[in-house]
């Protein structure tokens, strides 16, 4: 792709992302109704001037639910992914740069967590939670749990990258010049790991969005009436006549646009 076109695409992606995140953040101000208000006389209504995306089966405004749901998912899924990357990166660096006991501990702990069914951990966590928690608290805990158990896939990638960086000529030279270990790790090796971490991050974000939707089945996800991209996506499965209610697909469309836009920005980074 030509550089000018590429730059224009990147600006477009950035604009879309800024607009989406701004709409999600300002949902309380721009949403036409509350996400939980039921217009019981208008259930399953199609798009109209009153309801731009129509209403769901309980008469709740789809646009408002999408805006609030975006706020929940688009802010918390990246936060959970960031948590997972932090944990994975720490253990990856420990395994890749510190041979012997630290490496064995890091990889052993990773294998232990990876071999434990995450479902079991999540069920255990749910059993510990009190029943009367606010939906906002529940959703934050949900994404925290996702981040806390979803870091294992990246550790070996980080360990390999850290090991490569650690054995590279410039690190050896820095070490020979007396560069302290802390500076080696947090400045030189970390900078080498950033692209890998970024790639892992963008893989985890959609993964966590979908995982959140699935967790609803266990009572761990975002519970009613709070919307999330996950539980709005789950509604598609329950709409047998999608061609009659295309607005049900709006959350999937939004997710697609966000992910493609993110990819657009990422592609530029790689190209540069």
């Amino acid at each position: 792709m030509r550089p000018k076109l590429h730059a224009a695409m990147r600006r477009l992606c950035a604009c879309i992302l800024i607009a989406t995140f701004a709409a999600a953040l300002l949902a309380s101000f721009i949403a036409p109704a509350s996400y939980e208000t039921q217009f019981r006389e208008d259930p399953g209504a199609g798009p109209s001037a009153k309801f731009l995306l129509g209403t769901d089966e309980l008469g709740r405004d789809r646009l408002s639910r999408l805006l609030y749901g975006s706020r929940v998912s688009l802010l918390l899924a990246p936060a959970a992914a960031a948590l997972a990357i932090c944990i994975g990166l720490s253990l990856g660096v420990m395994a890749g740069c510190f041979a012997g006991t630290p490496a064995r501990f890091a990889l052993g702990f990773t294998d232990l967590v990876a071999s434990t069914p995450s479902l079991l951990l999540l069920l255990f966590a749910r059993a510990l939670l009190p029943l009367n928690v606010q939906p906002a608290t529940s959703v934050t805990i949900t994404f925290f749990l996702l981040g806390a158990v979803g870091w294992t896939s990246g550790v070996r990638v980080f360990a390999a990258a850290a090991s490569n960086a650690n054995n590279s000529d410039y690190i050896r030279q820095a070490r020979a010049l007396g560069c302290p270990t802390r500076r080696l790790v947090f400045v030189h090796i970390a900078s080498a790991l950033l692209p890998v971490a970024a790639a892992q991050f963008w893989v985890l974000v959609p993964l966590f969005l979908l995982a959140e939707a699935n967790m609803g089945m266990l009572g761990l996800g975002v519970s009613e009436p709070l919307p999330s991209i996950g539980n709005l996506l789950a509604e598609i499965q329950l709409s047998p006549q999608l061609w009659l209610q295309p607005a049900v697909l709006a959350p999937a469309g939004l997710l697609l646009v966000v992910l493609v836009s993110l990819q657009g920005l990422l592609t530029k980074e790689r190209a540069s």
Binding site: P135, S223, S239
Partner: protein, 544 residues
């Protein structure tokens, strides 16, 4: 000329192909359906699950059959029967000249052997418990060559209904499970794939014109656990009938093929919620006090808009529920008991009279605790999730905050039956028995399924003691009128005390290919096949 000679053969082949495609191959029409799982056993005395019960119903011959449409008992293998005045002895006069599907004759010895085997504790028949009491087991007595009596040690209410599930097996046949007296016999079984039932050539029943029944040549059940695939196959025309549809699928079929969807009216199944009243439950005392208050329970019941639940969640294919039985149960439903009307203002007044007050739009009790509690329900059930959302908004109108907690089913069962770590619960009640005796395990205060406060050593409240007394009274009485009076009163107490807040009664929704004739959906098992002996498939020419 050669081509002309081959033409009739070709046409014959085409006609055979066309008939095979619509399931009416040959002269004997074949009905095609799906079964959700493999039957665990074909032994009619050991059946304890839905698939097995369906096969048993279609193949087994019973002394008395409960007619799913008229809700009356009808003699099958028994030409007539008589219940003694004390309700302890039932005498059956057997229909003469009957034969099992393999040709062996049916006699009183088969009835005696079947009943004795069923009562044998070593067999572990699920029906056996009803025939054994502390005083000893029932005795089977042959009175005449065609007459057999069952003598119970104590009177058992609705004792005749028990015989609807006891399929008589042959003493003489070498293959007892395949030798049957019902309209069909198991011809082929491929586990995990299909079961083929073929017409019993020796079935005793004739239609009004003297033709032998059943009309169908065979019934093929494909084992299909996935409901979506079952629906897809029905829409493709690969299955003739589908039962237990949800409202969305029903509407979809109705819009696609009018005349296919069958709304059988109210079922026996209810959706309900209850408040945890277990004394040792690990919840705050002030919440226990709310839940123990009849005024609180009654007021919250009145704040729920049941009509909206029926309209929005079930698309109108449900109606407000009044009590444990719906009007579908014509014998036992108490017509005086009505669903609690939606009246939030009235509810608020009732709550205020009990010391509750509104502060800033939120309800507080007399000790200034905000009225907030959680509602657990099983996750994955979209209808219940929607009901919970409607309840949340309805109760918010009277200042009550409801937190919805969907839980996986094992965790939910653990909480409601063992740890009692919950506040309110939303679940459904599936009635498989239209007789109140089938609900003894719910209404007796000592019962495990007395959900709001199970396994009580002594009734916790006077009204529970009264329900115990009335349920025992109806269970011991051979007189229908006395039983009805007792259970009517039980229904009235339940409506007054609201241990369960009944929400809606779902409709029986099913679909059948219009080619299948005489379809009459029922809420009871087997919903679409209870009159399988009268079902028939119209051929193309006939249906036109």
């Amino acid at each position: 000329m050669k081509c002309l000679r081959l033409l009739p053969i070709f046409l014959l082949f085409l006609s055979y192909e066309a008939r095979s495609a619509d399931g009416t191959a040959g002269l004997e029409p074949q009905l095609k359906l799906a079964l959700r799982s493999d039957p665990k056993t074909f032994d009619p005395l050991l059946v304890d699950e839905e698939a097995g019960e369906t096969i048993r119903y279609l193949t087994g011959g019973v002394l008395i059959r409960y007619n799913r449409a008229t809700q009356k008992l009808e003699g099958e293998l028994a030409e007539s029967w008589k219940l003694s005045k004390d309700g302890r002895r039932v005498t059956f006069v057997l229909r003469p000249g009957l034969r099992f599907s393999d040709g062996t004759p049916f006699s009183v010895a088969d009835v005696v052997a079947t009943l004795r085997r069923m009562m044998d504790p070593a067999v572990h028949s699920p029906m056996g418990d009803s025939f054994r009491a502390a005083e000893g087991p029932a005795q089977v007595v042959v009175e005449r060559p065609n007459q057999v009596a069952i003598q119970f040690p104590v009177a058992v209410a609705a004792v005749e209904r028990l015989f609807d599930q006891i399929a008589i097996t042959s003493t003489q046949s070498s293959n007892k499970e395949r030798s049957v007296l019902g309209p069909f016999t198991v011809s082929e079984y491929v586990p995990g794939d299909h079961i083929l039932l073929k017409r019993n050539p020796n079935y005793w029943r004739r239609d009004e014109r003297g033709r032998s029944l059943p009309y169908l040549g065979s019934i093929r059940f494909d084992i299909q656990g996935n409901r979506d695939i079952e629906l897809l196959r029905f829409r493709r025309g690969e299955l003739h009938m589908i039962a237990g549809l949800d409202a969305a699928a029903f509407e979809q079929l109705k819009s696609e093929r009018p005349g296919v969807a069958l709304d059988g009216g109210p079922s026996y199944d209810n959706e309900m919620l209850w408040f945890n009243q277990v004394a040792k439950a690990p919840i705050p005392q002030y919440k226990k006090d709310w839940f123990a208050s009849q005024v609180f329970r009654r007021a919250l019941s009145g704040a729920i808009n049941r009509t909206d639940i029926a309209r929005l969640v079930y698309r109108g294919y449900a109606r407000p529920a009044a009590g444990p039985f719906s009007e579908a149960n014509r014998l036992w439903f108490n017509t005086k008991v009505k669903p609690h009307p939606y009246a939030p203002e009235q509810s608020l007044k009732q709550l205020q009279s009990a010391g509750f007050r509104m502060v800033g739009g939120k309800l507080h009790d007399s000790r200034n605790n905000p009225v907030e509690f959680s509602l657990i329900t099983n996750s994955g059930n979209k209808a219940r999730a929607r009901i919970a959302s409607l309840l949340q908004q309805d109760l918010a109108k009277v200042g009550v905050r409801l937190n919805i907690v969907p839980l996986d089913f094992p965790a939910l069962i653990e909480r409601i039956s063992r740890t009692y770590e919950y506040e309110t619960c939303l679940l459904g009640l599936v009635n498989i028995d239209p007789d109140p005796n089938g609900q003894m395990n719910v209404w007796l205060s000592s019962a495990a399924n007395h959900q709001w406060n199970p396994r009580q050593k002594a009734p916790a409240t006077p009204w529970e003691a009264e329900i115990d007394r009335l349920m025992r009274l109806q269970a011991a009485s051979p007189s229908f009128d006395k039983r009805k009076a007792s259970f009517d009163r039980v229904q009235e107490i339940i409506a007054e005390q609201v241990p369960f807040v009944y929400l809606v009664t779902k409709h029986v929704l099913s679909a059948a290919d219009p080619k299948v004739k005489n379809v009459a959906p029922s809420s009871l098992l087997p919903q679409l096949l209870w009159n399988a002996h009268r079902l028939t498939i119209a051929t193309e020419s006939a249906s036109r």
